[in-house]
């Protein structure tokens, strides 16, 4: 067991956990932040995507101990004051969400991408989300949602 402090969604939490624990397991089990999902535990599907210093990473591939003190944002940290973030709201409004299991990761990835590229083409959105698998949507409405969010922020 090692003692570390994780900074998640602006809050510091002291944790005692095995050195081998992934960030995803630490978030879900130790911090009870279950919005990030485990669908492959292998870095393939993106369901566990979180922001690490603003950059999207697969939390299942990151060891918790290696990111102590760094800025971590999860799906739970995107909105403010109990309100959905613009990207979250766009996913709701575009009808992109079906079972929802992929959506935390999808929305986190999309949020980081739009911050980098506020006026993307649909093709660019597809490229940016190529690491996020969804089995329900066929992706059309997902791309619509990101486009919607981009349009709104430009307005």
């Amino acid at each position: 067991m090692i003692n570390i402090t994780l900074k998640v969604n602006g809050e510091e939490r002291a944790l005692s956990l095995p050195a081998t624990r992934t960030l995803l397991a630490a978030l879900r089990n130790d911090m009870k932040l279950t919005g990030s999902k485990n669908a492959c535990n292998q870095g393939v599907c993106g369901a566990c995507t979180v922001l690490l210093d603003g950059v999207p990473v697969n939390a299942c591939l990151v060891l918790a101990a290696n990111v102590a003190g760094r800025e971590i944002v999860t799906i739970e940290g995107l909105g403010e004051g109990g309100k959905l973030s613009p990207m979250q709201q766009a996913f709701v409004d575009a009808g992109a969400i079906q079972c929802g299991f992929c959506m935390s990761g999808m929305i986190v990835s999309a949020t980081a991408f739009l911050a980098e590229n506020p006026k993307p083409s649909r093709k660019e959105i597809r490229q940016a989300l190529s690491g996020n698998l969804c089995r329900c949507s066929g992706y059309v409405r997902v791309i619509d949602a990101v486009e919607l969010a981009a349009g709104r922020s430009g307005a």
Partner: protein, 774 residues
Amino acid sequence: MSDIESATESAIGKSPPRLEAAEKAAGTAIYSGDMELPGMLHAALLTSPYSHARILSYDVSAALALPGVKAVVTAEDISGGYIGLVCKDEKALAHGKVRYIGEPVAAVAARDEATARLAARLIEVEYEELPAATTVEQAMAEGAPVLHEDFADYTKIYQAPENEGNLLARAEAVMGRGVDGFDEADVIVEGTYEVGAQYHAYMEPVSVLAAFGPDGRVTVWSSTQSIFRTQANIHEGLGIPMGKIRCVAPRIGGGFGAKAEASGQLVTVMLAKKAGMPVRLVLTRDEDMTSMRARHPGTLRVKTGAKADGTLVAREMEVWLDAGAYADDSPAVMNLVLFYARGSYSIPHVRALGHAVYTNKLRLGAFRGFGNPQASFAAESQLDEIAEKLGIDPIELRIKNAIKAGEQWLGGQRITSCALVESLEKVRDASDWTRRREAAPGRKRGLGVAAMTHTSAFLSSGAIVRLQGDGSIILNVGAVDIGQGSDTALSQMCAAALGLDIEQVSFATPDTDSAPYNYGTNASRVTYTVGQAVHRAAMQVRAQLLEHAAAMLECSEGQLELRPGGRIGVDVEPPRNAEVSFADIAGRSLWAVGGPITGSGSYIPNDPPDPEHTKMTGFLGLDALSVLTFGAQVVEVEVDEVTGAVEVIEAWCAHDVGRAINPGAVESQIHGGFVQGQGYALCEEMLWEDGRLVNPSFMDYKFPGTLDTPDKIHAIILETPEKSHPFHVKGVGEPPLVGAAPAINNALSAATGLRLKQIPLTPERVLRGLLEKG
């Protein structure tokens, strides 16, 4: 009553955000694997390393000695009997024998997951390895190892073939003159088609939380498509009375058929019971892929006869499905392959023969389409071969032979409404078919078409509608929304029947303690079948509301009008400004007259086959299967002749849904279903070597991502009112998947002249085909 229609228009035909969309976007939606209870233990499985072996003994002492381990269970702890919807041949854990690699043999509950996994590896099982049959050919060979020696003794709900071997089911359907009908044909095309095993790949791996209460009742939260099938399986498999089993469905991360029957629930309940503490099981992706289910791989020999003018006269189909180690839904899936063998056409003479065979691998089971994707891939591909031979346009050929409302389907059921021709015309026009087919023959790009038919009414459902004190409604149906949006659509129907806005209807969490029975979320049945029950229950509530209102407003019921938003007014000349709200009525019912206002509705389709029309043997009853829905798809592909890769450029999918309660959700089903079908067509295949699954991960099992899928999937909704339903609806969950594979295959042929008969159409197969063709 007047104006009901206008009052109800508010809720139907609109696409409000799904009821649970915001919580899913926020990351606060709770799935089974997110749940925890005080004192909860974690489960881990020990699975079989052999395809086929006798279990000689267990030694669990080392596992139990590990600190933190609270319980270990093996088949010796099973207190119940066999489970299985159509053939009871499976138990909660492997007992006596193991029949596939990955089959759960024992399980551990421990303080934490790592300890549980470690302990599972410390369980010693002594096996005697047996010869295995991992393919249909091996399993049907003379002297093949027998998987189920007790097959004859199993309880079955179909007429099973008598055999000493591995033949699980055999069924035959003959219409008209059967194979003799080929004597009317000028042209006959015959071919053998092969389909691969597709993994459901729902993003949420199977997860279960089970806890016994002080009253001895067990509550099971799990990723399931049916709380009632979960309850029944626990009851039968563990001998616990149904009244002591409460099954609840939190949010579900997809199912597509695999979560319709039992998965990890039984073993989790066993552990919770033995440990006396709550237990949670969350499968890894590898465990899920090796121990759950997949779509049946199989071989289909198909023969079609046509007259020179394109009139189809005869069809023969002989099907062999690999069922895997346990029956599960296999006999039913095989039956449904035959049900769709004739395709969507008025072919007078048909013979369809099917087999399902036990093999030493993962059980194959229900998967979106349920036999239809296999049948349609083969038959719709062959239809294009005929079109080519006759020099007739493939869409023309389909329209010429299209089945129509009033005609009988294979089995004899009458088609109630049918927009097949319209669907074909729609996709032809939308895709600019005629011009583009002619523009580029034999180039890298090509258009292909497929038509499809699917059921949408199946088995029983109930609904309870309750008026609350504030005039709002609670709708309780026990149907699980696995992501398709049924919570929202059913709430819209309930709101419509009562003239309410959807916000005034709350949807109860599916819970066997309170919900009326519902068979499950499968067979594209929920909107149609549960919708019937919702309407009946809502109408009972409406009748009571009107009775109260008449008394309160001192008029006759005939003078009342239901007004939007939960009010009832008097509609007389001269106008009287008098109305009561649902809240007023609720108050009267709760505190003065009549008691609580509750409505309940039950429904089961009953549409028995006609033995005069089709001779059927070896089938399960098809009585509770009804209401066919139709559609057509056109796909454009581009083929890379260097790599063999097939890219889907654009798709046009026209589906007749009777009436779209929520058009946005219908379109989403079309997008998602088509893309899952594209995966089936092009890249998805579970591969076994000597019974071992060689690609049990998302790394090795590829399904389409954002870069593999077309941006333009045109969802075309057709609305031909289905008069047997109060809201005129039909299902749409499965059909969008069904057409994709044959349409893509036909497009590949149009693009390259290459005609393949095996899916997935991997680059390797396409390239090999192109090279052989020269």
